[in-house]
């Protein structure tokens, strides 16, 4: 867990010293599948969202230029507003007296795919975990390839180590290490590198083990081979070695060998030294160096990047970096625990920020609703996906759905069945991401506010559907509230804040979080089957009082509309908890807000348990959906 506190007057989006002088701002979010552009403008002295446009992202052929998708999305805004923002393929800026053009352009980028980082050297399980944590807030994937000499000296009888280090070695690998076996391991790792085609490498580990500095030496040799592999192959011979690209390397290994490593990798790698990675104390420098690599070696290599860069005074930044800025700001500004969920086409992000500066970012690359849908099915399995569906579905139908969606990620579900299948996958995407956070030993904390965004949630036709997805997948406890970002703006507001902080704050309050789903009361503990789990007393602002008894295993909605407030009194059953201990009555000190769904009482229990009988499960799911308006 990181602890990064905003300093008032420092980096906080709300406290930037830059004055907001722009009267119009175009904000682009270039995702893997879709590019979304929003126009922010001044309305009666307040920044508001004025129009949005969306178009397929155009980084791949036949366009191979990210600006094409941005311009197509801007064209949609032009159609809506009647203003012109693009002329001859370039942005009109500043805003003209005619109303055409925009003063500022800001972009966040998640297209370009994740950065693949190989972790080399004497990679212990702990170091592998630390490396994964260091990039957990980035679009990045780590692959540990412990040096063969380290494996041989640290485990005489070979056992699986690291991310599938020996997984493909087969049964024949049991026994003693021999030169032949080391060769096999070396070849296996080379094949893995060939398959991964890494963007960068991270060298870790000390030289004080039985293998001495040899793991570091082998790491260098692996990098040399990698560069040779990446430079040859299908490249035309007439280009010679002109196209040879040096592999960026972060060196977080034994400090006394940094110069030797530099010498060995001369001509093959650009070595950046970071603090030796030993414990969580050094995560910050490694994380910052990895972020810089990502921006330089992934974002800046996206086709058309230079053109986009020329439109803006600020460089496009990675979408998770922007989201993390906003989430941490909200947590600190409102002194509450905030959980943000963003389910995208290729990535699912869950970020948790605490009021005391705690921060857990988890960017689950390769888990998403578009080209990465297959990974959800592979990791969760068809049964886990199908458990959320109130109808029978075969494994074949699920696979066919996944394959069609992977091949046509830009499509939307036009039938109810397709919609529900997609929403079932969204639940599992979030579940897998939370599980990944737990695997990295992040201690999650109860959220006071859940902020949700991403296509599958933002485009959910009914607010109840979005609410139920979040309740099912995150399974929050106690009392929380949920907000849906239908504008898909929250991921960009952190970037907006870097150039126009006032605009970021005002748009956040006026537009991005305007779809307040409602306050949720989620009793947990031992809910008595077939009996009342909790009694809820509601005292509306106008003095009207309502009391509701909610049975275990059910969801109830108490009307509490948007812009309405009420005081709650909670009377849990003796074995049930609402955050103050079993059976402890709770009375809110402040009024809670209503929302588009209402006051949600989710007494289904934690963890959520489904009836084993299929027919009963369908009935239960349909009942929950009906109650919440899904």
């Amino acid at each position: 867990m990181y602890t990064e506190t905003y300093l008032e007057g420092g980096q906080s989006p709300a406290s930037s010293k830059a004055p907001a002088s722009a009267s119009s701002i175009l904000v682009a979010d270039c995702g893997t599948v879709l590019t979304k552009v929003s126009l922010l403008g001044l309305v009666e002295g307040q920044y508001r969202l004025m129009a949005r446009g969306e178009a397929p992202t155009t980084t791949a052929a036949p366009y191979q230029d990210i600006t094409k998708g941005i311009i197509q999305a801007i064209n949609e805004i032009e159609f809506i507003t009647g203003r012109h923002f693009v002329s001859n393929g370039s942005l009109i800026s500043p805003e003209q007296p005619t109303g055409d053009g925009a003063d500022l352009f800001v972009a966040t980028v998640s297209a370009g795919g994740p950065m693949r980082l190989i972790v080399l050297g004497a990679v212990t399980l702990k170091l592998e975990e630390l490396a994964a944590q260091a990039v957990s807030g980035l679009y990045a994937e780590t692959y540990a390839l412990p040096a063969p000499s380290y494996l041989a000296t640290s485990m005489p009888a070979p056992l699986p180590v690291g991310a599938g280090a020996m997984a493909s070695a087969g049964g024949g690998m049991q026994g003693r290490w021999t030169p032949e076996r080391l060769d096999m391991e070396w070849e296996r790792q080379l094949a893995r590198v060939r398959e991964l085609q890494p963007h960068a490498a991270l060298i870790v580990g000390q030289a004080d083990g039985a293998a001495g500095p040899t793991p570091l030496q082998e790491a260098c040799q692996m990098i040399v081979n990698t560069v040779e592999e990446l430079s040859n192959g299908s490249a035309p011979t007439t280009r010679g070695n002109a196209g040879k690209r040096q592999l960026p390397v972060l060196y977080a290994g034994a400090p006394q060998y940094v110069e030797a490593v530099r010498r060995m990798l001369d001509g093959y790698a650009e070595v950046t030294r970071v603090e030796t990675l030993v414990s969580q104390e050094q995560l910050g420098p490694t994380s910052m160096a990895a972020t810089a690599l990502y921006e330089r070696d992934v974002i800046q290599r996206i086709p058309g990047y230079d053109h986009v860069r020329s439109w803006s005074g600020a460089a496009p930044i990675a979408t998770p970096s922007s989201l993390s800025s906003l989430v941490r700001f909200l947590a600190q500004h409102y002194a509450m625990n905030v959980t943000a969920v963003d389910v995208g086409g290729t990535t699912t992000t869950v970020m948790m920020a605490g009021e005391h500066g705690e921060f857990i970012p988890l960017v689950n690359t390769g888990i998403g609703m578009g080209p990465s849908l297959g990974a959800i099915l592979e990791k969760a399995g068809p049964r886990r996906v199908a458990r959320w569906l109130p109808f029978r579905i075969t494994d074949d139908e699920l696979r066919q759905h996944v394959l069609n969606r992977m091949l046509h990620p830009q499509t939307i579900p036009t039938s109810l069945r397709d919609l529900q299948i997609g929403q079932a996958f969204a639940r599992e995407a979030i579940v897998l991401t939370v599980e990944a956070a737990k695997q990295q030993h992040f201690n999650e904390f109860d959220a006071d506010l859940i902020l949700a965004t991403g296509g599958v949630l933002a485009h959910a036709p009914k607010f109840g559907q979005a609410a139920l997805i979040l309740l099912d997948a995150l399974q929050p406890r106690g009392v929380t509230s949920m907000v849906l970002d239908r504008t898909m703006l929250i991921s960009q507001l952190g970037a907006v804040a870097t150039v126009a902080p006032i605009a970021a704050v005002q748009v956040n309050e006026n537009d991005a979080v305007m779809h307040r789903l409602g306050t949720c009361v989620i009793p947990y503990g031992e809910l008595p089957p077939g009996q009342v789990a909790i009694r809820v007393g509601v005292e509306y602002s106008n003095g009207r009082q309502v009391t509701a008894e909610v049975m275990s295993g059910s969801i109830e909605i108490i009307p509490l509309h948007i812009n309405e407030q009420a005081l709650l009194t909670l009377y849990p059953a003796p074995t049930v908890d609402v955050g103050l201990g079993q059976g402890e009555r709770a009375r809110a000190a402040e009024e809670v807000d209503g929302g588009l769904v209402g006051l949600i009482i989710d007494a289904r229990g934690r963890p959520l348990v489904f009836p084993t009988d299929e027919t009963e499960r369908y009935a239960r799911l349909l009942q929950w959906m009906q109650v919440i308006g899904a």
């Binding site: 030496q217 040859n232 490593v261």
Partner: protein, 385 residues
Amino acid sequence: MVARSLKCRGDLHGRPGCEMWATLVVARIRDREGNRDGCSAGGGKTMTYPLGWPVVTQSLMQRERWPGDYNSRGVPLVRPGQEVQADQAVMLLEKPDIAEAATGFPHAVSPSASYAGLSPSSEGAQIDCRYMQETVLAGMRGQVVDITHRGGVIIETRAAVIQGVIGAGNQVAGVLTVWNAGSSFPLPGNRPAEAGAILVIPGPLNYATLRQATGAGIVGVVASSISSRDLEDFLRANVIALINSNDVERAQAHLPSITLLFTEGLGTIAMPARTINLLRRYHGSIALLSGATSIRRSIFPELVISLAAREVQHNWRPVQPDPTLTIGSRVRICSGSHEGVTGEINYFFTHQQTFESDIRGRAAHLSLEDGSSLVIALAIIERIG
């Protein structure tokens, strides 16, 4: 030279305790160096482009002729600047003979091991103790523009191209052979095509037909669609993992030797008349078929049919595909209950429309080929012409 450069650089500090490991590593690198020409990083992205439209009747393009994998190495038989014919041998492909290496006994080259089957591959096949050599035909008519590090031959050609939605298998060259719907397939002793043919089946394909095609020695099949179950059963592979692979060559390495291209994708979707007509027009021509599909790397299967010299001379009108949706665009529905249906856009709705799922989105009004009309979400149509 990797090993040499490393040896010059020396160890990290030359401690005696490291000597054994250092020696081992250098030995491994020497082995790699020996095979270096046959290794690649799985490139091909620059050579394989998804097109704007699934069918492009005339286009100038460059493709690398490379049917091998990491362990193969190519020995070019042509040089840059040279004009080549589609049935001309352009490369000797050397592939490690794993079976022979394991048994120590030489064995004959199986017909399925020959890529094209059009050349005197049996005569041309030479067996040494480690490599099996195959002659590779150009598959395209045009000019050699470059040779790649691994020995692949880059040819510039004027061609008709069909891009598939999904496929599998390495690049193969063969004679385009359209199967007639009237005849049963395949009739014993009456094969629809000789070995070395790329068979075109205008309708959906199934597992049984694919197995029969394999038995008939066909090098490739172009069909409209197939169920995901049948495809996975035939390939004996997880198709989700296959198309999600970053390393295309490695992913293709263990598939059956027959190369597949499905113009419409998964399910039971018919082939559009326009595609069938184009394929019929080039029946008997030599074509180049690639089945590799990687959504991570934007690689999709394609069939390249080089145009005849006469057609290029008298009727060369290259097409610049533009996927932008406009009124009058011919489009194909790529998802939902109308998947595979084609039509023409005659109206864009100003306001978002609501669909059966209650999702709202921008929409267009389509005139379908059968005369009916449909309101459809823009998100589920793709331009085909």
